[in-house]
């Protein structure tokens, strides 16, 4: 074999950032605007939704009609490469527990896939232990992060409506799109049941973002998950990394799989080492500070794999907390058909990529048998057909009279069946609950002592179990969904789960909101980072992804990752100016 040698990058950067998703993209943006010399390392290829196009393509342009593959778990047209299994990059489980780890190695990371749901955490979300005694409080309050949420709103854009809800703070909103037809029915049913149904909050430009000429407006194709050719929605690659590169202060190296954080004898970080997927050679790069934003679990893995005599337990892990308190959102769904929508008139109701209305958490947990809430996401209507269209028609066409008013046998074939597909098209709808799980020390990822990936890097081993809290929450979701569907006059066709399968509660990891593995706190014995995402044990090391979260809230984590990364990056700049780093 070829000589094994490590190539050292001659340049010393101010900051090396590992990962180009929400946290890494934001950090690159903020640091480069301040003139710092930044190296951005990404484990996957370069990606630009204006060039790597799947938007406005037709189903027949995919031979599998958009079905999912091992290369794109969310379907052939989805922008996100990768999924829950990556070839040559395994992970393992402990004690028969389950955790599914979604990875998207590409510029922009998982922001290329997410639903653009952009919710601020509320005041209570930072102080859950004070409220219900479980988990821990954050070392910051809503007031600490609010100015950064404001800045993120202005920089990236989010639509929504002013509601003045106590724990779902309003952003600086662009106008939301009007509800679709099924969403009007959902809203009516919700109103009758005292369940709020309000405009969704998504980072999609329904109007021009003031002061930003680089991004086009949404043209309502409903395909944000495919990546937007005019950058009308948020993904880190197009909205943060692209302008960061344009400053001239950022180098980006794609296909760079970081192995560990390098430290010198006093224990400070000096840079990182990585293997290039292009030539399989080993590289080292030096920087005055290191920002990990590789995703909650990947950053924890990096720290645990960065062992030295000063950090025998892994870097920034004197607390032994790295990898612990891993928690993903809870998830459960239910769907059905709305008989009043059969045979409906056709028109273009694509709208934005995702729901136009949603339900924020509305109840008081003191009156319930579980802690923490959930929000509800809705979908349905006359979407573009893809793989799976028409599946299971025998579950529908035998239950409702056809166009001629006659009840027929389920299933069938021929001209009558062909017309059933037309007749029932657009009458389906569904909803998903996304809730807060309790962060617990015994849900964790750690290094598997026996297994490495194809780069020779020790892999993660997961240990994760839901508790009664989450199962009871899922039961409540299902009861609520059933109530909403019945109130709408709909009929449940799937998701009517009971105790036999924990009320359809999704396995941990499936909602792809995993956070908490390098949590922040004031006590260095019980946390990995301080309140500025800076490692207690290593002051020139920051973690700016979801790992920093103390608790997840019933909100999608991206907007909070962005706000914290912006805040931490500004702090890093200040500390460098003061020569503390």
């Amino acid at each position: 074999m070829a000589d094994f040698q490590i190539k050292k990058n001659p340049k010393t950067y101010d900051v090396v950032i590992v990962g180009s998703g929400a946290g890494g993209g934001m950090s690159a943006y903020v640091l480069s605007q301040a003139g710092l010399k930044v190296l951005l390392l990404e484990a996957g290829p370069m990606y630009d939704p204006a060039k790597n196009v799947t938007q406005l393509k037709w189903p027949w342009e995919s031979p599998r009609r958009g079905a999912s593959t091992k290369h794109r778990n969310f379907g052939d047209f989805d922008a996100a490469y990768g999924g829950w299994e990556l070839e040559g990059e395994p992970y393992t489980h402990k004690d028969g527990t389950k955790f599914d780890w979604f990875r998207s190695r590409m510029l922009g990371g998982r922001t290329n896939h997410w639903g653009r749901i952009s919710l601020r955490f509320g005041p209570k979300d930072f102080k859950r232990k004070s409220i219900d005694g479980m988990g821990d409080d954050w070392p910051i309050s809503y007031d600490d992060i609010a100015p950064y949420y404001d800045k993120v709103d202005r920089l990236i854009g989010v639509f929504g409506s002013k509601e003045n809800l106590p724990n779902d703070p309003d952003s600086i909103f662009l106008p939301p799109p009007k509800p679709r037809l099924h969403e009007l029915f959902i809203k009516d049913a919700g109103t009758a049941l005292n369940i709020p149904v309000i405009p969704a909050r998504l980072s999609i430009l329904t109007k021009k973002l003031p002061g930003n000429d680089a991004r086009g407006n949404c043209f309502f194709c409903s395909q944000c998950n495919r990546g937007c050719t005019v950058y009308g929605d948020f993904s880190s690659s197009s909205v943060l990394v692209k302008p960061a590169l344009e400053t001239g202060h950022v180098d980006v190296i794609a296909n760079a799989m970081v192995r560990e954080v390098l430290t010198y004898s006093k224990g400070m970080a000096t840079g990182v080492s990585y293997v290039s997927k292009d030539d399989m050679q080993e590289y080292e790069v030096s920087a005055k500070a290191v920002v990990l934003a590789a995703s909650a679990c990947e950053s924890a893995r990096l720290l645990l794999n960065s062992k030295s005599s000063n950090h025998p337990n892994g870097l920034a892990n004197s607390s032994n907390i790295v990898g612990k308190y891993l928690h993903d959102s809870t998830g459960a769904g239910m769907g059905g058909i709305l008989p009043k929508l059969v045979g409906r008139k056709r028109y273009n109701e694509d709208g934005v990529g995702g729901m136009h209305v949603y339900t924020p958490w509305w109840l008081d947990n003191k009156k319930l048998d579980f802690a923490r809430g959930y929000h509800i996401e809705y979908y349905g209507g006359m979407g573009m057909p893809g793989y799976g269209f028409g599946f299971g028609i025998q579950g529908t066409n035998g239950k409702y009279p056809g166009r001629d008013g006659k009840q027929k046998q389920a299933g069938g074939y021929g001209v009558a069946l062909k017309d059933d597909y037309r007749y029932f098209y657009g009458a389906q709808f569904g909803m998903d609950g996304r809730g807060e799980a309790i962060a617990r020390e015994d849900n964790y990822c750690e290094i598997d002592p026996n297994t490495v990936d194809k780069y020779g890097i020790p892999v993660l081993r997961f240990h994760y179990k839901w508790s009664d809290q989450e199962v009871k929450q899922a039961k409540h979701m299902k009861d609520t969904f059933r109530e909403i569907i019945h109130k709408m006059g709909g009929v449940v066709t799937w998701g009517d789960d009971g105790p036999e399968n924990d009320y359809g509660l999704e396995a941990p990891g499936r909602i792809i909101h995993e956070v908490g593995t390098t949590r922040m706190g004031n006590d260095a014995k019980k946390s990995v980072l301080n309140k500025f995402n800076q490692a207690h044990d290593c002051k020139n090391l920051f973690v700016m992804d979801g790992g920093a979260f103390v608790s997840q809230a019933d909100k999608n984590p991206t907007w909070t990752i962005l706000a914290l990364a912006m805040r931490a990056s500004e702090y890093l700049i200040d500390e460098m100016k003061k020569q503390n780093i």
């Binding site: 393509k57 027949w60 029915f185 009516d188 573009m384 069938g412």
Partner: protein
């Protein structure tokens, strides 16, 4: 890297003609028309994928396109079945007009979980036809084919001994519907009119009126408005 990829396609017009002198048994059903002719040489066509593909995806695509899963008899059977499931009507053509058999061939290669249910299902069907009509399914007359389909196409009234056939037909129905309604012909038939730049300004007035709903004032005030 190059994006030009060679894939192998059969020239459909050529094999249409050849079936009258097909290989198996009696040829009576006109629905046999759209099937592969084994002797025909594959025609190489350069096809550029029109959607973003990673190198790994291109590699898989080329590998799958070079493979053949169903034999000619199976493809004929599939073709007859998909046109029974979705025939031509006054709105649009048949499933085979929309190249659904090609889609099913591809998806069986792409999703190996379908291979045994489809291959075994065709065997099951042929065996039943053979016992009753002394013919394979495609060798049966159109009325014989419908007689057997009637026994597996209606899950709730099927006899217990036909349930394996019901499962096969359910799968065929699913794949046929997806293959057809994701083709251009099927999407036009369905009347899906999205997937193009536009301005969403809410549900059309006549539709709101039809369902007796309207936007409340808060919604009208806060939602996005368009100049034109």
């Amino acid at each position: 890297m190059t994006t030009k990829r060679k894939i192998i396609l059969m020239d459909r017009r050529k094999y249409l003609k050849t079936l009258a002198v097909g290989t198996v048994g009696a040829i009576s059903a006109p629905t046999l028309l759209d099937s592969c002719k084994p002797e025909e040489k594959p025609k190489e066509v350069a096809v550029t994928p029109t959607i973003d593909r990673t190198p790994a995806e291109l590699e898989r695509y080329n590998k799958l396109m070079a493979e053949k899963f169903f034999d000619d008899h199976e493809m004929k059977t599939i073709t007859v079945l998909v046109d029974i499931i979705i025939p031509k009507d006054e709105v649009s053509g048949s499933a085979s007009d929309a190249k659904v058999p090609d889609f099913i061939e591809f998806i069986a290669k792409d999703m190996p979980k379908h291979q045994t249910p489809l291959r075994g299902g065709i065997k099951w069907l042929d065996l039943h036809c053979s016992r009753r009509f002394n013919q394979s399914f495609v060798g049966c007359s159109a009325s014989q084919q419908i007689e057997i389909v009637d026994e597996i196409a209606f899950p709730e009234k099927a006899k217990p001994e036909m349930l394996q056939g019901v499962a096969f037909f359910n799968l065929m129905r699913d794949l046929t519907a997806t293959g057809f309604f994701t083709s251009k012909m099927g999407i036009d038939d369905l009347g899906y009119v999205g997937n193009r730049p536009n301005q969403w300004d809410g549900v059309p007035q006549d539709v709101l009126a039809q369902y007796g709903v309207k936007y409340d004032q808060k919604t009208l005030d806060e939602c996005v408005k368009f100049d034109s």
